[in-house]
């Protein structure tokens, strides 16, 4: 194999800046998308555990739609199709006025897609709580909203921390799909360096290392958080 290595490339000229800004974009994109995913996912997850049939159906339909269409297809839908279906003035804003449309579309698509997964975790967390807890809280005079706020959600979230960690890492990795819309995130930056310099190993190695490092950090941090928030008397799930 003929290949002239040039690791210095990564620390030179515009390239170091591309990698850095790509990495920053990936992190910001993943964070915003996660905020949407967590908020929407929690609401939908709670909907799916309610007695109200309408809300429960809304929850189910949401999860089934967003979970069964590939993320890439969803990104294209949000970017190319949905704007066409909006009323005229909203369409004008989305197409002309909105700053940074690719980034915003990617955040929205990724957030709503991941929300369907978060919703399933939240639902399974709540449903794993014995019925007696809910009944006891109601008997104590809590309103249904208070039952969720003070009893079900605090326990439910804590039991599904490992799965939510997985979903967060999923958002972080899936943010790379934003490159198909033209967002210059980490993978796109590596690709661009490769195209400019014809050096392929170095930029992709840099991206690989950055992705793995973040994953490792998040896992370590969440293990710690998991131990801190463990409910007394339960098995130490995942904590070795």
């Amino acid at each position: 194999m003929n290949y002239s290595w040039d690791w210095g490339l990564l620390f030179r000229g515009p390239y170091v800046g591309w990698i850095a800004s790509g990495f920053a974009t990936t992190c910001v994109l993943a964070t915003y998308a996660w905020l949407i995913a967590f908020t929407v996912g929690s609401v939908i997850g709670v909907f799916r555990t309610l007695d109200n049939k309408v809300l429960r159906t809304i929850g189910t339909v949401y999860v089934e739609i967003f979970r069964n269409i590939p993320l890439l297809a969803q990104m294209f839908l949000w970017y190319f199709v949905i704007p066409e279906l909006l009323p005229a003035d909203a369409q004008l804003y989305v197409k002309r006025g909105m700053p940074d449309p690719q980034f915003r579309t990617a955040v929205l698509a990724l957030g709503l897609y991941t929300a369907s997964r978060v919703a399933e975790q939240v639902r399974s967390g709540i449903q794993s709580i014995p019925r007696g807890q809910r009944d006891a809280a109601l008997a104590m005079g809590f309103t249904p909203a208070q039952v969720y706020r003070y009893v079900l959600l605090p326990i439910g979230y804590r039991t599904v921390i490992p799965s939510l960690t997985n979903d967060f890492l999923g958002v972080f990795k899936n943010s790379s799909l934003a490159l198909t819309l033209g967002v210059m995130e980490l993978t796109a930056a590596a690709r661009q360096i490769e195209e400019y310099t014809f050096q392929s190993f170095e930029p992709f190695a840099a991206a690989t290392v950055l992705y793995s490092c973040v994953t490792l950090c998040v896992i370590t941090l969440m293990r710690f958080l998991e131990r801190k928030t463990r409910i007394a008397g339960t098995a130490s799930a995942g904590g070795r």
């Binding site: 069964n68 269409i69 297809a73 490159l179």
Partner: protein, 217 residues
């Protein structure tokens, strides 16, 4: 802007061909991923710590990377390593198998660990050899436990094949994209891709759910 679904009828064959490529890619990657994944799972559970650490590092490393990045690695680097150009389809296939193997490894390992220790001891106490105990006691139960997860992973994998779009392999989404650009009908084409995936994946996941209830231990 009106809808014109005629464009779908006109390009029906091309689109079906694309869908077939997606399904084919899924099938090959599942088989390859499961074979390699089983090897990795056995390696991870080996008592030789070198072997288990090696398999463990591979699995954790690949699981920390986005699929897109892995596909790029193989697409750009394989020709440099083997010295001549290879087609995008083969490079994507290799990437998928190696990537999915990491996920299948974890599923298979979890399935085997889900069989209670007492079953192993009972099997050995009955006079089974280690191998026949695995074959007749542990694996049948493990397989039943992991079947729904394996199938769910297959559905996810089917959705993930759309990512080959980035290297231009003519799968379903890429074909639709090409047609969308040549006919200037992106709305109809992206919608039909989304609806097709929705119908296939929804039906498949319902079937998995029924299977799970029927075969649950």
């Amino acid at each position: 802007m009106g809808f014109d679904f005629n464009v779908l009828v006109q390009h029906k064959e091309l689109l079906l061909q694309g869908l077939m490529v997606s399904l084919q890619l899924t099938l090959i990657a599942i088989v390859g991923g499961m074979v390699l994944g089983t090897c990795l799972a056995l390696m991870r559970m080996s008592s030789l710590s070198v072997v288990s650490v090696l398999a463990g590092s591979y699995v954790n490393f690949l699981r920390s990377l986005p699929l897109i990045l892995v596909i790029f690695w193989f697409y750009i680097l394989t020709p440099k390593i083997v010295g001549h150009a290879i087609d995008a389809y083969s490079s994507v296939l290799i990437a998928f198998i190696l990537f999915e193997a990491a996920y299948y490894c974890e599923i298979i390992r979890a399935g085997i660990s889900s069989v209670k220790r007492g079953q192993v001891q009972a099997g050995l106490a009955m006079g089974f050899t280690h191998l026949s105990m695995m074959r007749h006691v542990v694996l049948p139960q493990a397989f039943r436990n992991m079947l729904p997860v394996l199938l769910t992973q297959a559905i996810i994998m089917f959705q993930d094949t759309s990512i080959v779009y980035i290297v231009g392999v003519r799968d379903f989404l890429t074909t639709a994209d090409v047609v969308a650009n040549s006919t200037n009908r992106p709305i109809e084409l992206y919608t039909v891709v989304a609806v097709t995936f929705l119908v296939i994946c929804f039906t498949a996941s319902r079937l998995v759910g029924r299977l799970q209830r029927r075969y649950a231990l």
